[in-house]
Symmetry: C3
Subunit: 344 residues, 3 copies
């Protein structure tokens, strides 16, 4: 597997400085790339690495850096170009492609389009519809009435409950569970009466969902994930959440029931969103923040405290518990000083 | 699938205002329900939606609201009645019911009662006991000596380690792992020596556990989950934790080893409980709080800080790190003012 | 299954006080152990339990405690000795050992050494290499080119993506996914362009990974987990993270991309580490702390606030948002008092 620099330059729409027939067989970091490998410089603060870089070629923004390296491809956005090139170098899929493994259990009523790949030990329920070019890894389970758009790919051991719908070109990683019951119970005499969850999950096109993430089905209506949304590992999306197009949600985030996240939002790792709130478009939440109220203006929002040595933190945390006392002390001082100043 | 209003009124013990033969074929929200659908009004603050509601019938508390809607069923607790009605409308289970799929691998020594449903690619180990009416989804793995009470249902791809015991009418969602080794190691010369975990997990009746949750086996004695406990997705329950009856634990909560949670507690999403502590009955922990000490009195407890714009939050967080300085400044001022007042 | 006290004393290198032929058939806690069971006293604060302890024998540090119990084994480190003894009492593995189950799907090009156990419904991809003594639980999926060192054990339903490498004597618990795509996207015109993840995961010897944990593959180079590392349940390790030897990571921790954790670190439950930072050796992070910057000195670090009643917490949290105002009030008071003192 390899590409010439002229092929790569054409793929990314860049200008080549160097040998068009130079062959690149792999990608590498600026620190460790060797001859025959392509690297990239995205952040200008690492430009001093170029002189020591042994890569066969580098994707660059600034043409004046081209002379520091063996070969260069100049592009407007090296990080984007790098993303585009990674696609050329993805490994071939594992050995079950372009076939339906004989161990797969597929219900008679399921409709499979052409070029569908189904790995070993997959279970496909009644009335499932799988569009052309989909790939299902080993051990996946698709409940009754599931629907997958074209070229959607499920890694191994993905579970889709009844009626879950995914659009085209989605990727779902292993261990992820979509459509499990939302957490809904009515309290009654000290016990919890189950609210059976009757909705499902509706996922748009070009959505990627990481490993061991959970997206619950809706209580009555559906949980909805918009087009182009990217969700990382171990994320919890509760029932009837709505995520707007192209929002990105990092690992370990939890979003409680019926909350609406706008378009082009980013939620950093470990953050939590309370239920029944709304975030407008272009809201950014920093890591491990807790959002307990709706956010009406775009921008970045945070909660939490800064890291400290545990010894110092203990004192600060204890003091913070008494911050109301401090406020009272200040008020008293203000009055006393006012009196003194008046007298003075 | 449908029910007349008289059937539904009887099911929930309510009083019908309207056409007893009106047929309801689905449930709907106040906002979107159409003719032929049943909705409910639980929170009085949404009462103004009734006049615009197109539902065929609505579950209501207040008889005076009945005239605003097409048909009404008056009940003491509409949310509870709604929960009871959802049960009527749950979809039929996926197409493997009332049978043992031929691809399931079942150890000869396993004992299966009548009316047990086992999906494709399930593995049932030695000496497993499965009571009447249990359902196991595709891909489940039950280790040696597992025991399931009557009508317990495992969704697809649930893993139960050796000797795990679940009571009757439990529901466990996909990807959940019960009985994996607790996290126990003795430090020795800079390395960790494994403490092999010899206990198991004992789960009561009517417990529901969400997707991709983990409940570890005990070190020596068992981890214990009481009757009627409800656990959401992506929750971590460590070894030798004890959860009292009818407590509810929301998504992304972590409970460290040997901690005891009382009865009828609620732990909101993302909260963390340290190990070896005890919470009495009726304790409520708010979202993303960290509990590092035992709680001896019922009530609601919290930690964390309020959300702010990131710009403002940065300043507050930096100032909070110096809160001890502020306290010292206040003390000094108090002494100075006292001196001035004495002089005055 | 049972051992005499002389056998156990020899196993842990301890001195026996009592009957060398006394037979121990199980382990028990100080509170609940019965005759025929072995217990241990690790923490001296529980020494008063010894007089009421009915255990057949107790692992002790202090020889003067030996007279309080039926039989005693004196060791330097009772907790370590207990860990060593647990190994003797681990249950036999479930019934698929020392064989390759006929339902397993194993690619022709896979190389399996002697004494490999493979459970039902396992899928082993092309060019996989499994060393001697490995055990794979039911439902595991090993992608193309995976490699397992000697005596490594995967519990049921573990997923290893292409090219993941584990060393010898590792244990991976159920539901864990190793090698899924790192969360990498280049923003472009309001959409996200996937950075295909071309690295893999390299895991050392004697590593244990809990249930439903995720370790992502590297973007270009590998994600690396050192020897002797212990990782609990529901932990997220992002792409290109490096974890030093013998570090321990508790449940629900998230570590963002390219972060380097030193050797012998401990990260307590629910903590979060930002991306692209470095923690030196011997750093300890307390529960639910957020680490947003590199840590250059060994020691313990924390963030967060202390638990309080929700009512009191609400006031403190609101006050904290105005802590800058408090600081301004103090500054003003200081100036005023200085003026008064000067005048005085």
């Amino acid at each position: 597997m390899g590409y010439t620099l002229s092929e790569i330059a054409a793929h990314v729409g860049g200008e080549l400085f160097g040998d068009p027939d130079y062959c690149v067989s792999a990608l590498g970091t600026l620190d460790h790339a060797e001859a025959g490998q392509l690297s990239f410089l995205s952040n200008p603060k690492y430009a001093d690495k170029l002189s020591r870089c042994e890569a066969g070629a580098v994707l660059l923004r600034d043409v004046k850096d081209a002379e520091s390296v063996r070969n260069a491809i100049i592009v407007r956005n090296p990080y984007l170009a790098f993303a585009q090139v990674t696609r050329l170098f993805t490994a071939a899929e594992c050995g079950w492609q372009d076939s339906i493994h004989p161990s797969a259990i597929i219900h008679d009523s399921a409709e499979l389009a052409d070029n569908v790949t189904i790995g070993p030990n997959v279970t496909v329920g009644a009335n499932v519809r799988i569009a052309a070019g989909c790939q299902l890894g080993p051990g996946c389970v698709l409940g009754e009435g599931v629907s997958l758009g074209e070229q959607t790919r499920l890694a191994a051991n993905v579970t889709l409950y009844e009626k879950v719908k995914l659009g085209a070109r989605c990727i779902v990683h292993s261990g992820t569970v979509i459509g499990a019951d939302g957490f809904g119970f009515a309290p009654h005499n000290g016990e919890w009466i189950k609210i059976h969850q009757l909705g499902s999950v509706l996922i748009g096109d070009d959505v990627e969902i990481g490993a061991n993430t959970t997206v619950d089905c809706g209580a009555i209506e559906d949980t909805v994930i918009g087009n182009g949304v990217k969700i990382d590992n171990l994320v919890q999306i509760a029932h009837n959440v709505v995520i707007g197009d192209n929002s990105a949600i990092a690992g370990c985030v939890g979003i409680a029931g019926s909350t609406v996240v706008g378009k082009n939002c980013t939620i950093a790792g470990g953050a939590g969103l309370a239920g029944h709130i709304t975030l407008v478009d272009n809201v950014h939440i920093t890591a491990m923040s807790l959002v307990t109220r709706s956010i009406d203006s775009p921008g970045s929002y945070s909660s939490g405290t800064a890291l400290d040595s545990t010894q110092k933190w203990r004192k600060s945390a204890a003091r913070l518990r008494r911050i109301e006392n401090m406020a009272a002390q200040i008020s008293k001082l203000e009055k006393q000083v006012k009196t003194l100043l008046t007298k003075g």
